[in-house]
Amino acid sequence: MYAYDELDRTLLHERVEEFRDQVKRRLSGELTEDEFKILRLQNGVYLQLHAYMFRVAIPYGTLSSKQLRALAYVARRYDRGYGHFTTRQNIQFNWIKLAELPDALADLAEVGIHAMQTSGNNMRNVTSDQWAGVAPSEVEDPRIWSELLRQHTTLHPEFSFLPRKFKIAITASDHDRAAIRIHDIGLRLHKNADGETGFEVLVGGGLGRTPFIGKTIKPFVHGRDILSYVEAILRVYNQYGRRDNIYKARIKILVHELGIEKFGKEVEEEWQLLRDSALTLDDAAIEEVRSRFSYPAYEKLPHMPDELKQAAHDPLFERWRKNSVFPHKAQGYSIVTLSLKPVGGPPGDATAEQMDVIADLADRYSFGEIRVGHEQNLALPHVAKRDLPALWKALDKVGLATPNVNLVSDIIACPGLDYCSLANARSIPIAQELTRRFANHDTAGLIGRLHINISGCINACGHHHVGHIGILGVEKNGEEFYQITIGGRADESAALGTLIGPSVPYAEVADVVEDIVEAYLALRDSPDELFIDTVKRLGVEPFRERVYATR
């Protein structure tokens, strides 16, 4: 966990009161909507189809049980009893009343939660691997660096009025769970040949209308230099943003237009001016942040406790364990993913009741800690293996033990046309139908790892470009149609998917996906060849043929 200091707390309370005053002035007519909009966006408040939407940050995806209870309370007290976990370690509430927002923010501030860096053209919530600090073979806890960047960029003028929004993600493991290659800046913590810790820096990733996979701009930047290096990138971006309208866009466009070499050269020049400035982190500053992350006092526990041996006879438990339980750095412990993708449910939603139960289970089994991942699932990061059977039973009771993590029904989806004012088409009902088609978890298990991502418009909030199967809602003569891509991925081998053919109407999407999956099962060279690898080996053609032969 991370312990906020008094300064952070004072800042949060001051901001809530400032916003309370702004809301009051808006409601009395003293502020126009034009004047107010930028203020509400700085506090995570959007307008959606039916109501205001309130986006709250969960920095680097780490929550305490107390914080999760506060989110449950807000869901119940100010919203309709649930929240939606997003792909960027935020949670959204969909029915908040403007007049009550300051109270909701004040309640969250009590537990150190806020909505800064969740919207507007500024630096967004710096995201991280949800297994940070517990993943085996991690170089170092990446949240230390997320937090250093968060502190440096929060309310900093250089980062608060950018040409567009700006997103950074950090990972410290070989397997990238933070999708760093689709962020404006992606940082991969690793050690160089001299054993020093630093970052591979990637820039220019992003999805939306013009998707790009980020490119490496510098293979190694020492940890102490990361603030000055990021600032150098931002300065180059900001300069172009001001000079020429074309570049008043995302950094990915700038990197693409200039080319990574030229962009890198400009950053390097800028960095030479900055690198030995006050931005250089000294060991004490790094140590100070490091010391505020606390880790549980793990017991020395057996690798294979009796409880687990016994439970292994229950095929339902085993099925869940095989896809929801992951290795931990401490012997005798596991990381447990809680699927927020029940069959027939909206991906990423959790009810207030579920949040309260998870908070209690976190207290009992995970040292009071919960994690939020970009796949719109939660995790309990420190579960003793002996507790797994009991935890499973408790989760199952409240619908949180769907054994589909990383399988075809573990779908990432944006809110789409049911909620979103920018949408072309619905996302959630498509996801729900797909989870019903693949409701048999044993069959899904045989299909193996397969990520489906759905966005209701080109803004790509559901990361459709990097879904193994990506589904994008478009409009055709006032009707909902969907473009289908295959072969995308968001991990360390990130790639954009390829369109398989003309868009298909709403009613046919689930059939098309089933066809694609059937084609894969027929084409894979062994049950071990993942969908994504079959697509890579064969290209889209055989899938296209299968889907369009009868359409």
């Binding site: 449910g345 909206p346 046309l417 004012s421 619905r426 909902e480």
Partner: protein, 105 residues
């Protein structure tokens, strides 16, 4: 549905209403013939020409305290005179989500 937020020129091709969200709670509202707002589509003022649409929108936009994001939305007038939303987006705004909420109201 192309988002009406991208609405640039005002040109309507059929019966339309002006809709927005209520400032203090975000609830969907419709401009009424009585120069006020209602949360019921049935109460909405119907316009049939681009000029009338422009005028109704101007009136709505002028109420910056009461409403946010006013725009013109198509409707369908049924044979019995009932006003129905003109597209799926407006249907969802007027009738609610096409899915069940995680927690029943």
């Amino acid at each position: 549905m192309t988002s009406p937020l991208e609405q640039k020129k005002i040109r309507i091709t059929g019966p339309s209403v002006v809709t927005a969200n209520r400032t203090h709670d975000g609830v969907v509202i419709y401009r009424t013939p009585q120069h006020g707002w209602s949360s019921r589509l049935a109460d909405a003022a119907i316009v049939r020409t681009s000029d009338d649409a422009r005028a109704l929108l101007a009136e709505a936009v002028a109420d910056d305290v009461g409403a946010i994001g006013s725009y013109i939305a198509p409707v369908e007038i049924k044979d019995n005179g009932e006003i129905a939303p003109g597209n799926l987006r407006e249907h969802i705004r007027s009738e609610g989500l096409t899915i069940e909420l995680p927690v029943p109201a």
